[in-house]
Symmetry: C2
Subunit: 358 residues, 2 copies
């Protein structure tokens, strides 16, 4: 167990936003909330997956919804903590720790907000190693763990428990409709996991990874080095393209933020036309009409100067960006993993073509 | 307490369908299920509201959704009983009895199906005295009783608990979206009521009323008397119009069956054109373009020969029908009652003009 410092929190916000691959929600509001909690003398402890006992119950939290709405309607620490408490009331037992369903974006920070309210530690793991938009797009679903129950909380005072569901897809369908009715945003506590399940199917170490990534960016910025080069080295990534945003189409629909953005190449990429689709997260990158990268590999759109991530809800005309790709967690590269998160799972009639050697 | 007979069940199906004012779902499937249970030697006990202790918990059940779907996708007795059991698990206490949220249509019979599975009696009461389409259209909502929790069950294995909700309208919104995702049909157990609440805000004696009404129709049919005259006498109703269906527009949308039907007058009504709108139930009757009757008064469309009710999901071109109106329960005629179920609550910009003297 180690106490996360105020500096860790700052680095986590930067690193989680990059790993969010455009989604997971902007971490900005969560960062502000955590800064205030730390200023009040509170702190959050981080524990490794080996510090959780086999039968300890771990709460798995996220803010569910469309990133554009998440940016506009704040979710405070009491709301995400309430999702956990509602689950405790439903189960009739207490959680020993809390973890992220996705380390990407604001959802990489939500466990810290819940933990600070509840006085329990955060587990250094998640179930995506990035962010994905749907309930069945997790290592827990790939591992065929139980999809229910789930609690969904709205600040107006509505609370819903999806207590049983036959499949992960039905969990997605039902919980998404509730989330949509709440205004395309809800604080959720996903199906509880035992310590044994977290160790077997969780993606370990992702909070630490996000902190290290964020720290590398912040240090490069401080030293006036190239922060994008620092990201590529820290995460063994590849640079894909640099250019300017010339088009953004965005619509908040069915509880998601969907759309596309088009870039014109700059520098060595001059003349190239790149299109990037998204469903909360970046899904498929097309260069001159051909798919070049797709989920599950992490497509990250970065500000070419600062190296900081740009989200699907914040990207706008004229931005100078660099697109990079980072490797996916191994669990998603199996045939079963690709069924859950490959390009076909997002409705694209293309096979997954890995950038990183298989 | 009295044991309902097989003949009571037959009469209930006829009477509840008339009181359904077009909705509540066809009672046909529930009748078939109850006939089979009675043939197997089971029976259901009916108790008066005075036979429930103040702090007894009473389960309030219904099949929620669009009547056209309810006609096509069967809800069996185990499913409605499961809605009650799921509520018992959520509350951590057992129900002493079960009652209908609405006596109208199949929902007047659902409590009998649940009761036969659970081995508890049915309370002779409901919260509408008819059928209405939405959660806030009940005497319990008019009485400002707690709107939550609610359990919603799908036969594929999905179960949702709406555990908290700030208002009745939010209960309607949230539970309707869940119902819609389940396929516009769900077995539901509404907010549990104490015996004291049932006595104060329930509409007492409506199961018995529906049985007596159905019996009057069946006896008139047997004696070749006019069954519609029997209904008008039993319920102090008024005959409005006789004619032929010349148009039906029907769409299943947002978890409801909405539409309109047009009649051409016959006999003394020859030349008159009557239009009747519906949202699951008949809402407003227009004669030559002017509103003549509206909710909360009970608009009933009857087969002119048999006197049996015709539902919004079964009405079709060419049927010879007689439209009658029956008085509403007093609780809905107060200003607060009309806020919940008057024509404006259904989106019509007209005031309620009672047919029955105020």
């Amino acid at each position: 167990m180690r106490a996360l410092t105020a500096d860790d929190i700052e680095a986590l916000a930067v690193g989680a936003w990059i790993l969010g691959t455009g989604g997971g929600g902007s971490p900005y509001h969560a960062l502000l909330a955590l800064r205030r909690l730390y200023a009040q003398g509170r702190h959050v402890d981080l524990i490794g997956v080996d510090e959780v006992a086999d039968d300890d119950a771990v709460a798995v939290v996220s803010v569910m919804g469309a990133p554009l709405v998440i940016l506009e309607r704040l979710v405070d620490s009491r709301q995400i903590a309430r999702a956990v408490s509602a689950m405790e009331e439903h189960l009739g037992r207490k959680f020993k720790a809390v973890m992220a369903i996705e380390i990407g974006g604001g959802n990489g920070m939500q466990p810290l907000l819940a933990a600070s309210q509840l006085g329990i530690p955060v587990v250094d793991a998640d179930a995506m190693g990035r962010a994905y938009p749907e309930a069945q797009m997790t290592s827990f679903a790939v591992g065929n763990l139980a999809p229910s129950p789930l609690t969904s909380i709205d600040p107006r005072g509505s609370e819903v428990i999806v207590s049983k569901t036959p499949t992960w897809k039905w969990m997605e369908r039902t919980s998404r409709k509730v989330c949509t009715e709440f205004g395309s945003i809800a604080a959720t506590c996903k199906a509880p996991r035992s310590g044994a399940e977290v160790r077997r199917w969780g993606i370990a170490g992702t909070t630490t990874k996000a902190i290290q990534l964020g720290r590398a960016v912040r240090e490069a910025q401080r030293r006036h080095d190239d922060p994008i080069e620092a990201i590529l080295q820290t995460e063994s990534g590849r640079r894909l393209f640099s250019g300017k945003v010339i088009e953004v189409e965005r619509r908040t629909t069915e509880g998601f933020l969907r759309g596309r953005t088009v870039f014109d190449g700059l520098g060595v990429d001059r003349g190239a036309k790149v299109e990037l689709n998204f469903q909360n997260e970046w899904t498929v990158l097309w260069r001159d009409g051909r798919p070049v990268v797709s989920t599950p590999e992490l497509i990250c759109v970065l500000d070419s100067e600062s190296g900081e991530a740009i989200g699907t809800e914040t990207i706008r005309y004229g931005q100078r960006v660099t697109v990079i790709v980072l490797p996916a967690a191994a669990v998603f590269l199996t045939p079963r993993g690709l069924e859950h998160v490959g390009p076909r799972a997002f409705g694209y009639d293309i096979d997954f073509q890995p950038v990183f050697g298989s």
